[in-house]
Symmetry: C5
Subunit: 363 residues, 5 copies
Amino acid sequence: MSRRKRLGKLIPKKASKFQKKMGKAPGTITYMGQREGGDSVVNILEYNEAILNEHIPGDIDAIVAHKEVPEISWIDIVGISDEVFIEKIGKRFGLNPLVLEDIVDTHQRPKIDEYEDYIFSVFKMLYLNTEQEIVYEHVAIVLMDSSVLVFQEMDDDVFKGVRQRIKSKSGRIRTRGADYLFFALLDAIVDNYFVVLEHLNHKIENLEEVVYDNPTPEIAQEIQQIKKEVLRIRRWIFPVKELVSRLIDTENPLITKDTKVFLRDALDHSLEINESLQIYREMSMSLMEMYMSNMSNKMNEVMKVLTIMASIFIPLTFIAGVYGMNFDNMPELHTANGYYYVWALMIALFIGMMVYFKRKNWL
Amino acid sequence: MSRRKRLGKLIPKKASKFQKKMGKAPGTITYMGQREGGDSVVNILEYNEAILNEHIPGDIDAIVAHKEVPEISWIDIVGISDEVFIEKIGKRFGLNPLVLEDIVDTHQRPKIDEYEDYIFSVFKMLYLNTEQEIVYEHVAIVLMDSSVLVFQEMDDDVFKGVRQRIKSKSGRIRTRGADYLFFALLDAIVDNYFVVLEHLNHKIENLEEVVYDNPTPEIAQEIQQIKKEVLRIRRWIFPVKELVSRLIDTENPLITKDTKVFLRDALDHSLEINESLQIYREMSMSLMEMYMSNMSNKMNEVMKVLTIMASIFIPLTFIAGVYGMNFDNMPELHTANGYYYVWALMIALFIGMMVYFKRKNWL
Amino acid sequence: MSRRKRLGKLIPKKASKFQKKMGKAPGTITYMGQREGGDSVVNILEYNEAILNEHIPGDIDAIVAHKEVPEISWIDIVGISDEVFIEKIGKRFGLNPLVLEDIVDTHQRPKIDEYEDYIFSVFKMLYLNTEQEIVYEHVAIVLMDSSVLVFQEMDDDVFKGVRQRIKSKSGRIRTRGADYLFFALLDAIVDNYFVVLEHLNHKIENLEEVVYDNPTPEIAQEIQQIKKEVLRIRRWIFPVKELVSRLIDTENPLITKDTKVFLRDALDHSLEINESLQIYREMSMSLMEMYMSNMSNKMNEVMKVLTIMASIFIPLTFIAGVYGMNFDNMPELHTANGYYYVWALMIALFIGMMVYFKRKNWL
Amino acid sequence: MSRRKRLGKLIPKKASKFQKKMGKAPGTITYMGQREGGDSVVNILEYNEAILNEHIPGDIDAIVAHKEVPEISWIDIVGISDEVFIEKIGKRFGLNPLVLEDIVDTHQRPKIDEYEDYIFSVFKMLYLNTEQEIVYEHVAIVLMDSSVLVFQEMDDDVFKGVRQRIKSKSGRIRTRGADYLFFALLDAIVDNYFVVLEHLNHKIENLEEVVYDNPTPEIAQEIQQIKKEVLRIRRWIFPVKELVSRLIDTENPLITKDTKVFLRDALDHSLEINESLQIYREMSMSLMEMYMSNMSNKMNEVMKVLTIMASIFIPLTFIAGVYGMNFDNMPELHTANGYYYVWALMIALFIGMMVYFKRKNWL
Amino acid sequence: MSRRKRLGKLIPKKASKFQKKMGKAPGTITYMGQREGGDSVVNILEYNEAILNEHIPGDIDAIVAHKEVPEISWIDIVGISDEVFIEKIGKRFGLNPLVLEDIVDTHQRPKIDEYEDYIFSVFKMLYLNTEQEIVYEHVAIVLMDSSVLVFQEMDDDVFKGVRQRIKSKSGRIRTRGADYLFFALLDAIVDNYFVVLEHLNHKIENLEEVVYDNPTPEIAQEIQQIKKEVLRIRRWIFPVKELVSRLIDTENPLITKDTKVFLRDALDHSLEINESLQIYREMSMSLMEMYMSNMSNKMNEVMKVLTIMASIFIPLTFIAGVYGMNFDNMPELHTANGYYYVWALMIALFIGMMVYFKRKNWL
């Protein structure tokens, strides 16, 4: 039963999505995720080298006002299931309807689209929750001239470090533009992929441990789960390297040359992550192979026990059977030591078989 | 027997095709599908922002007349087995004979060809019928200046939503040109791929459930069926992403820049679908692997039962056999408690074997 | 033994080739096939829209004469084992020695080479003979200004339809140039690939049928044969799509723009064939997988029967053995109902085992 | 337990890395390796054709001084866990903070970045330690106008030969620039890959030997270890060929045309190494296949012994059982030679079975 | 033991190479092969259309003299283990030290490097020796203006045909330049690949034959050997097609346009060889699969025999056991025909089991 649930999580139920969406025009804003209910909460960090303000704006006008200020504004919108609210925000910020559709489409594959005044991107944040389960959270980031809009599904995210650096003035983030903030968020997302991969690595190592000692069918299931998890993660992570690489090549003035140097670093990390995923993939395949070979070993052992027991005692039983026959004329039965000779024969046979199996290395 | 049929469906019988076609000149119009008989039914939707007319024209002249009107005309031809009719239509609309050949060739792989006055495209509509079986329906779409010709095999299709949007004036479809209608149809086709994939996903999940509990040979067959279904679907879906991408890059004036923004969205979806198919492919391979490993498990279990039973009782039977021998001189037989000692020995052996197997973790 | 032969056919014996050729200069004309003996037979179709003549020329001069006539000449040379004759023809038509070498080299992979005055191409015709075996026939086609030279190994070929269309004036062939004839021949070759693939498809479906019901070792052999046949066919078919695509892109004046439209159609077909081959490949792999899994099933069944029989009767035999012992003091033996109690015990054990196996789902 | 450790080594523990790094700004210098503690030791070789000086500088000023001298300086910094020191050095040499981050990031994949005044590169040195274990040592090399900075983790390295050639004036190294030194170091790294691969090759050959004679589960584990080792090595070696190739194509004046000729040689070696790795990969897969097939063989043998023993003695025991029955009326029992006839029957059966198994080739 | 050796041959022992080379400067000339000892023997063929001279020069001066003559000189140096000699020759002919290094490096992958005055190439000659073993012989060819230098390891080679053609004036070789000689040598190398592949093909066919009838573990080993042989051959042959293709595209005046036509032919052959290798690869994988499936078959058969014997006789033995019990009160024992009824029961059981197994198709 609990497995049922696990599977459920791995494969996004698209049913709802397409039942909701079928027949609607493209550009219709329909939230696709399972984290429904609750209002969107908006939090704004406004900063430059000198100033730092944090706002929780009361209404949309208060939000949009931040678009115009000269400081860098990080407008963080948590909760995207309220489609009406998202649409309003989107219109006020001049976002394309297709962009709005993607903001709430939690199945959207990672992408970066350049529009005239802004760069729109979608990623999947991967992180471990307190129960050490992998959480997949959809996040959309819009980079504008002096502000960054972040749309995320839940309160939890991977941006704590970035917030801290802004507040504590550590690093160079306070001295740079919106594009550096955009990079810092992207970098935080990519860095968390490493944490998740490390978690996966530990899981695989533990399975490796167990598969040698005790290859139960449950282990096989867990190996298959790992394989699926790798497939799933790969889906969200794989396109990132391509996207970052395109960002580096873009001539869009929103991305300064200074920031591109840092993006190259993020590209490096994406490549590294993809290589690791590839290795985990092959390792999980090897695990399954190992499992099968250990199963064969166990079977071999079982068969050997059977064969040894049967090969030793069946002939002995036959001999006993022979002298259990009731023929009138069985001279051996009437000799004084016949019984002892038969025991001798049986013991000799027993020893002979033992030696035979020893030689065959079965004992 | 019913499997026979299923297989039949998966692999299009090309026999008829080539018996029909062999030796004929290229450009010969020969219907290749299995939905023969019945006349073609034509239905025309004519609209602009203000007007909406629906016609069921009486003859070909009435159809062709719609080519010239300034409104957008969606000319929907249902039933393509009447080759003579298709040829007449084609000639009147100025279509190339090779195009006509492809319109009725239900084995034609998806393609988009640009001609001087029109863009010709072939796709496969995939949808679920009321028995939840996947239907593969050939559809050819011709985009002209102010009209869209659709040739489809059956009355059922995936365009209901588009019709509704036109009739209810919802969305932007009524305010745009024929190219947007073309996109809307393509988008409807692609969106239905998601529905079919979701159906496949459910099937795979159900098989996953069952393969653990009860790996019967029937399950293996079903897994193979899924693998074939994925192969087949892939064949029709895989080329789509390439085609859409070429449409986006074309400089053909029939496709406006506005519509290309939407096509980029369709491209995104095609990519997503291809990734999903890839994942389903790997999942069905894992399923087969899981099936094999569970089969091995079952075998192991069977062997253990046999080995335990045989290893315990064969030696005991041997002991009983020994004291069933008829030698005159067998002193043990004549002791008062010999029988009880033998029982004690046999019980000790029994317990010893049980402990041994317990330690080996076989019990 | 008959398998021997089948294998022999699949893998061309290159021995002869290289024993013949080793140390000879490149450009040496050596027939590589196994259809030796017999003279070459030449047949010429000369036509334009109005005229149609069929000649069987007496000597080489009569053949070469047709090169100059304004009509389209299809010069069909059947039988290429007479190297001297081929060389003479070649010289008279001005063909490069390397071209002549390829004309008779039945192992030559498909290719298209453009020379100054002609385009030279090699293909493999695949068709079914009357015993429904796949025949591989080497064919070389030379396209010249107003004539097409065809060199083929045997009388049988796939060009019947083309001949008929020329003779019956059906289609556009009589109104077009030599390049259209060239295309028509290529198209006939490609169309026959479909027939052969369909044959393969039927074979695979039949094997699928059988592999479920009766997975004998012979089936495994046949599956492997199919896999090899697919490999072999792939070798000859795979390069075709590349070649056709190059023909479409060439700027050689021998290929008119009109004909290129038709070549695009042939390209489509080549792509389709390659996709089918890929699918057949995966299907034959699945077949083998299925075979192995069915074998495991059978084994499981065998083991279950053994385990059930042994597990039930070995303990019962032990009980019988106990009461067959000859101890003087065995009180049970002398009770009035001991025998019946033992039967009761044995029947109870029997029923217990049956219930146990039923619960395990082994019965 | 010891296996635990081996696994631990294969999969770098990234935990520490990301716990250390999370939330810090990019460009933060954090040592990622496990070779902590100890100060960095700096060793400088300063040479031109005539002069050769070796320095162990006392402080950073003494190091930086060498940047300006006209001679070629090889500044070798051993031990990179002291982040403060690395940062100071980096700043004095004008290195980008991201470069400094990579210098101490032992998980950094091989890379070459060109900056304005220097070329920065990261590689993994692979060599065998005295216990014949493969050591993975991170090394960063910075090529400047007339000096080469090398940052390495440990005292051990693969550069002994280069040092010797400089000191003994052998070869052309003393007559050339810093770029040739850079090449020589790279070449030494690549040459050592061959040594490691050879070691791997020996291991695989030994396993091949053993897998035929004695396919124990431990062998299967070792095969899997080899597969992982190949995966891991591949990760560090695979990117090198791409990097060298880029160096050859660069127009950076730091790399002279003369040195590029030598780099082409290094490229050749990288290609060869990649091919070898590919072959080892396939060989280790074959090993596992071989292991599985040998396991099957052993199982077959076990089963044959069981089947032969059981098939011969079970029927004989049955016959003995029949004549052990206690019916009053069993005429055979009372004949004079019944007992001998039964023996004859049993011997005949025994011989019959032996012949049968002989014919089946099981004996 | 003999297998040991075979393995040893397959995987070149690089130990010696790197022990010899470690720490030496690039460009150091170190012979890497195992055919040490013996002096180099030089043989010179000097020819043009009219003249043909064969020389065995006494010293290096005599060799170098041939560089300047207007005739085409084929300078064939057999035996490359004498590094001093090679170095002298190289210097006199103006060859780059890196070229000299490659001439004696028998592990060098096939390559073609263009230098200012000459084209340097390395290939592997593959041919069968008199024991029908595949010989791998390193050969380096230097194409100069009017001479071709060939460095080969042994007296045996694949150039006999070329020598003969030169001497007998057959073909066009005597009328053409050094580049045609270069092509002729390359062509001879490639042609011999066919002979080796054919040999491989025969081996695979023979194994196919045997694997059906008698799948012993030795067969599995041989299959693995074939797989390795294919891997190894592939390594040397695979790069050739790329090299030839580059030669065709080069603008180097050393290769005339006329010769390029012939090189296109050689390219064709290289492609064909690569395709064949791919097919052999897949065939050897299929062989292993077939082996495993036949092993399963054998196991199945063994299990069936065991199951049939045990299932028939264990119940019968039980019945006999029952009537061997010694209860005082067993009424059946004292009936007149009890014994015969029991026989009837046992025979009925026997027949019943036979019918059951017949129905299951196990007999």
